[in-house]
């Protein structure tokens, strides 16, 4: 569900005399997502840091001159470009204080706009439709500029877009009530002209918004009658018959917005992603006829996702940069952060694997509602660099096998060649497109490995798992195969990346890990993040105690036993507990080796359901159970000692996960453990943990209770100095 968050003011506005003008000519992104350049409609350009809501610097042209196009920032040269009085191009740097002393060049024709995308080159669009790269224009400022547009044709709106390393300038024009779309590709230059279908007579689009998606340019435009249309133009089909004929541009009605009475006057629609459109200046469907609303609509379902009333006049202007909407209204320019999360089945059911890990891992490929419904496979807005690298990769790949060929190839070819081919395939194809292919490849490799004991491609499988396009249900034998071949690295990867490992398999992994001799484990190479976590945990154990945080060794001991005895200092310790304290070793020692611990952690991190896990846990032998419990105890003690052993960004089990496993293992093996003499001490310790946890929880409950009472007390109304009350006597 998309959401609009609490907005804040970036700056005040000085509206023009007409009152229809917000006083802002344009807003452009600057060096990063937190900086914008705001050009006002008269003379000045201001650089703002958005999160600080404060201007960093400001430049003004002399009185008498006016800025005729919004300033843009060229991130490659770190320069600003603006046009004054239609013909004078000015370029300056951040450190320049006076705009008049900066570089100036006068061109021969009136400029409409200068456009520049991050990473792209600045492009100049002239009022008569000609397009030049800024560099080439500045090399000969007085060069003649051709007229592209017809006599009575005028540009209404323009933008530029980088698509597959191609730069496009897109602009719309109007001529005698007809609207045209021009698509100008640079290097090589081509121009394509489209005619927009006519809406009701006399209506021309109020606002445009364009985006590039999946090799298509998508144009969104809003008419005064509330209709929002989308037209899709393929980038590939460009070229050839240049500008000869205006092609009709097919359109589809995306939204029919409620307009209330009359037509829309100042309104704007901006594409946010493939499914969301932000609209301003259109009435809220359930809030009467007032047009001062900012709404986010889902175009797939035609539902209103979020709405916000904007105080003051709406000028029909709207910009969006990096999840923030910039909207001038009344006498302020407000910034409103928004969010348009993908609506997916997984998130709806709350089954996204681990929210914490997702923060720093790329999102696991979860089927999106939008994709399912509309067949869009591409991610909505990948940053430009990835696009570039991907294309680079594609160009690198020499003559190569097609997908089907690779599939066939894997059935027969020797190990090395299979590895090479699959690697090649993975490197050149867009992984998103390859999801079914990865599944096919993996299951084919697994079945071949199972059938042929000599065939095994650990690195390829690991690579496939790494794509995150696989899951257990796609090739159910993969984990078991890895266990069979004692490829514990692959096991770890599977546990890490598969969201759907059955409890039986988890248990099998646990059994394999715990029974593995430490010497074998140390030879493994495992995922570095999880290893480094365990290393720091164990290193802390070995480090000379007491140097940390300047505490003496006795105080760390104290901390440890405190955590043991009470889970906090709330609980007053009893004498009995003091005895326990002396019986517990002051510094826990890790009962298993480093790598083994890493693997066990991976098991602890997997998702499970108690009822399904319990029967499988019973298969563990009592020695293994004791060892596992000792390890869990070790983890618990370590966690209790330290305030935050779970380092951010590292894969580490949480305290609750550890406790849950302790409880489960005890549940599964309690009778056996009671009979086992060597488990006695362990059980006593674990019992004390549980007791301390219970006590902590009960204390917390008490605190909660008293806090609730406080809450209730506040409800009791204050009588104040004077009141007139009605009482009744019976």
């Amino acid at each position: 569900m998309a959401a609009l968050y609490e907005g804040y003011t970036l700056c005040g506005l000085v509206p023009g005399q007409t009152l229809t003008n917000s006083g802002i000519q344009g807003i452009e992104a600057e060096r990063d997502s937190d900086h914008v350049v705001v050009t006002d409609s008269t003379r000045s350009v201001t650089l703002y840091k958005v999160s600080d809501q404060k201007p960093l610097s400001s430049w003004t042209v002399k009185q008498g001159q006016t800025l005729t196009c919004p300033a843009v920032y060229n991130s490659q040269t770190e320069e600003y470009v603006v046009v004054s009085d239609n013909k004078v191009i000015r370029i300056w740097k951040d450190e320049d204080i006076l705009l008049d002393k900066a570089f100036k060049a006068t061109v021969s024709s009136d400029v409409w706009r200068v456009h520049c995308l991050p990473g792209g080159e600045p492009v100049v669009l002239f009022q008569r439709g000609a397009v030049r790269l800024l560099d080439s224009l500045l090399s000969a400022p007085q060069q003649p500029i051709e007229e592209v547009l017809a006599q009575e044709e005028a540009i209404r709106w323009s933008t530029n877009i980088v698509a597959d390393s191609q730069q496009f300038v897109i602009f719309t024009t109007e001529q005698k009530g007809d609207s045209f779309l021009y698509l100008h590709r640079l290097n090589p230059n081509t121009l394509q002209r489209y005619r927009l279908e006519r809406e009701e007579p006399g209506l021309s689009p109020l606002s445009f918004s364009a985006s590039y998606r999946d090799k298509h340019i998508c144009l969104l435009y809003l008419y005064p009658n509330g209709h929002v249309y989308q037209s899709v133009v393929s980038v590939r089909g460009l070229g050839g018959d240049e500008g000869a004929q205006a092609l009709p541009l097919p359109r589809s009605l995306l939204l029919g917005l409620p307009v209330g009475e009359g037509l829309l006057e100042a309104a704007s629609a901006q594409l946010l992603d493939e499914a969301h459109v932000a609209v301003v200046g259109v009435p809220h469907p359930s809030a009467g006829a007032g047009k001062d609303f900012l709404c986010i609509w889902n175009t797939n379902f035609q539902t209103l996702q979020a709405g916000k009333e904007m105080a003051g006049k709406i000028y029909g202007q709207l910009w969006t940069f990096s999840n923030k909407l910039f909207i001038p209204h009344g006498k302020t320019l407000s910034v409103i952060p928004y969010e348009c999360p993908k609506s997916s089945l997984a998130s709806a059911l709350g089954k996204l694997k681990q929210a914490k890990t997702e923060e720093f891992k790329a999102p696991a490929c979860v089927p999106s509602w939008n994709n399912i419904l509309h067949g869009d496979k591409a991610q909505p807005s990948r940053p430009a660099e990835t696009r570039k690298t991907r294309t680079n990769r594609k160009t690198q790949s020499a003559p190569s096998l097609t997908v089907d060929q690779v599939l066939d190839f894997t059935k027969t070819a020797p190990v090395e060649e299979v590895q090479r081919e699959v690697e090649g395939l993975l490197s050149r194809a867009d992984i998103q497109d390859l999801q079914p292919l990865v599944g096919q490849l993996a299951s084919m490799l697994v079945s071949r490995s199972l059938a042929d004991p000599a065939f095994y491609t650990p690195s390829t499988l690991a690579q496939l798992v790494h794509t995150q396009s696989l899951c257990h249900s796609v090739c159910p034998d993969l984990v078991l195969l890895a266990l069979e071949r004692r490829d514990f690295f692959l096991c770890q990867l599977c546990l890490q990346f598969f969201p759907d490992i059955p409890e039986a398999v988890t248990c099998a992994c646990l059994k394999a890990f715990i029974s593995m001799p430490d010497t074998e484990a140390e030879k493994l190479s495992l995922e570095p993040d999880s290893v480094s976590f365990m290393e720091t945990l164990i290193a802390r154990e070995r480090a000379p105690v007491g140097l940390q945080n300047g505490f003496s060794s006795t105080s760390t001991d104290q901390d440890c036993s405190d955590a043991l005895g009470g889970g906090g200092r709330v609980v007053i310790k009893t004498g009995e507990e003091d005895k326990e304290k002396s019986s517990t070793p002051p510094e826990p020692i890790c009962p298993v080796g480093l790598h083994k611990a890493v693997l066990l952690n991976e098991v602890l991190l997997t998702a499970y359901s108690d009822t399904f896990l319990l029967p499988h846990l019973k298969d563990l032998s009592s020695q293994h159970v004791v060892l596992f419990l000792q390890y869990l105890q070790f983890l618990y003690l370590k966690y209790s000692q330290d305030a935050s052993p779970q380092m951010h960004g590292l894969r580490s089990p949480s305290l609750t996960q550890i406790m849950d496993w302790v409880c489960m293992v005890l549940d599964a093996h309690f009778t056996v453990l009671v009979m086992t003499p060597e488990a006695k001490g362990l059980l006593v310790n674990l019992h004390s943990f549980v007791k301390s946890q219970v006590r902590l929880v009960s204390e917390l409950g008490k605190i909660e209770g008293s806090l609730q009472e406080l809450n209730k007390m506040k409800v009791k109304k204050d009588v104040g100095q004077y009141s007139i009350e009605i009482i009744e006597l019976f």
Binding site: G720, Y722, E725, I726, E728, F730
Partner: protein
Amino acid sequence: MGEFKVHRVRFFDYMPSAIRAMAFNSHTERLALVRADGALEIFNFADHYFQEKVIPGQDGRAVEALCWVGQRLFSAGLNGEITEYDLENLRPRYTVEAYGGPIWTIGSNKQGTLLMVGCEDGTVKMFEILKERIQFQRNLERQKGRIVSLSWHPSGTLIAAGMMDMIRIFNAETGHATHRMLVERGVGASKSREVVVWSVAFLSDYTIISGDSAGKVQIWDGLTGTLVRTHLVTKWDVLCLSVSQDESSLIAGTSEGTVVQFQFISSTVDQQEEEWVRTRTFKNHSHDVRALAHTETAVVSGGMDTQLVVRPLLDKVEKNTQESAMRKIALPHRSLVCCAKKAGLLLFQFPDHLEVWRVGESDGHGKPGDSLPVKRKPEKLIQLKGKGGDHIYSSALSPCGEWLAYSTVSSVRLYRLQYNNISITKVSKLPKDLCLGHQLCFSSDSTKLFASSRHSSVIVVALNQLECKYLHTLKPKSGSRQPVHLLCTSEDGKWLATANTDCEIHVYDLHKRKLHCTVPIYSSCPTAIAIHPTTSHLVVVHADQQIFEYSLVQKEYTEWSRKLQKQGLHSLWLERDTPVTHVTFSLKNPAHIILHDMFMFCIIDQSLPLPESKTLLYNQMTLRSLPEQERIRHSHAFKICKNFKHVMCVSLLEDHSLVVVERPLLDMMSQLPAPVRQKKFAT
């Protein structure tokens, strides 16, 4: 019974002054108590701790000590003067300058012939107590450093004096100091500060007990001048000591607000020898305990937190009786609020000024339990500062709101108020006879002012626009010398009733200008009286919570009153521990009597049956839950509303709405200075 609109007033910022000293007279069972502003209060412990008399204070009079000599009461203070009070006319009788600088303490010998004071200049001065005055006799040997506390040995031969860092023992005859006992200073930082011996007690076995600023209670042998035992009681000061009459028990009050009891008992069962053993600690105060009295059965304490606390010792009284209940007296037992019913005005009496407020208005209607929107806020119309240094004794506002009178110990002042553009003019020429007014009261038509004067007489003054004329003086025939503490007139202007602290109630016929009758004297002091507007029945409520209704026409108790006496009041009614301070009547229903104490107000419906001993007295909640038809079966005459706490006044305005003036104790507490810091857990 119905709904009432209640003006709940909490803006009366009354703040009693801290208790500074007290003295208990065990013969008359009267406790004299003096506050920081110099006001003296007399409580009758024999009559339900009723506050019988109040003598207002005076600016700049800081009384430090009190002393009963027989029936006579003396005080001394830091202004260096000794004062004897006239308890009949409620004023200082005379004042004698001691010429020794500020006086810290006062004491008398057991025979009641000599008075001694301890002065700042280090002298102990002896005064001979004569019949009408006191006369300076001599000084004891002058010491270096002030005399903070004194105690006379019962035999009269020796005097113990607490000073800075030491205790001196004087020979009372020669006036020479015989012993010097050094008192150890506190440890730590307070080592450098002099220790003040705040209190000493000289027992008949020549034991001296001292309490000092280092927190110690020390027991000395007065014959040899040696220290017997030290009890460290507090980290702060031990401010006062009090010994029981039989010298078997001792209490010490501290700055922490605790009172520590010591008893003279054998510490082990079979040991013959007795010693002072610390036994109990009471914590009834939040601030310094400045004054203590050890009565036969109770510990009486008071201090900075302004409350007088009577804590019965459970080994001296029968358990679980009314006698064993602790009492806290926080508000005065007389009305400081006067309500002008017709004008909707309230007069608040503070020690040094008066305030006139108009209650707010609301035009809304609401369900029971609702607060109505206040259309007009209450406003303070007048703040009248008292003239001279004398504090206000009594005040009254006429029912029409146009006259205001107040009295101090020395004079009566009368003002005319106008509200259209608020003005106040003093009536300059008052009759000469109108110089004393223990109680003031206006007639219901605001044409007469009644002022109670010496020997229970009442002066009647006529008021009109032009002048203020003395009419006559009404005198009782009993010849009682006690002051009138209650005064009321009837609505029709025919009757005037007075009550004095001899428990006499006199009713005068104002038309005939003579005594009409005297109500049969009841043993307990009346705390509130009122005359019914239509039936002319006098309703009297006494300190023991008894209610009587006396017909002025028939000159006998009414039928209802007899019935009430025959059946007896409900036990819970009798167990209440604050007196009824105001009685008024409903104009709508003549059968209703409205009265209140500190914790409730009650409407007595004389048409309903009286509650029997087994019925529920506080039955409002039960009745609320019953259906309409059944209520009548369960209801009884006493309709008690406990919605309001710390009530100072309940009155009925002419528009039938009630005015309830509350003074929440918490509000008063919040105005106190911070108590001494005590280490509390987790701070």
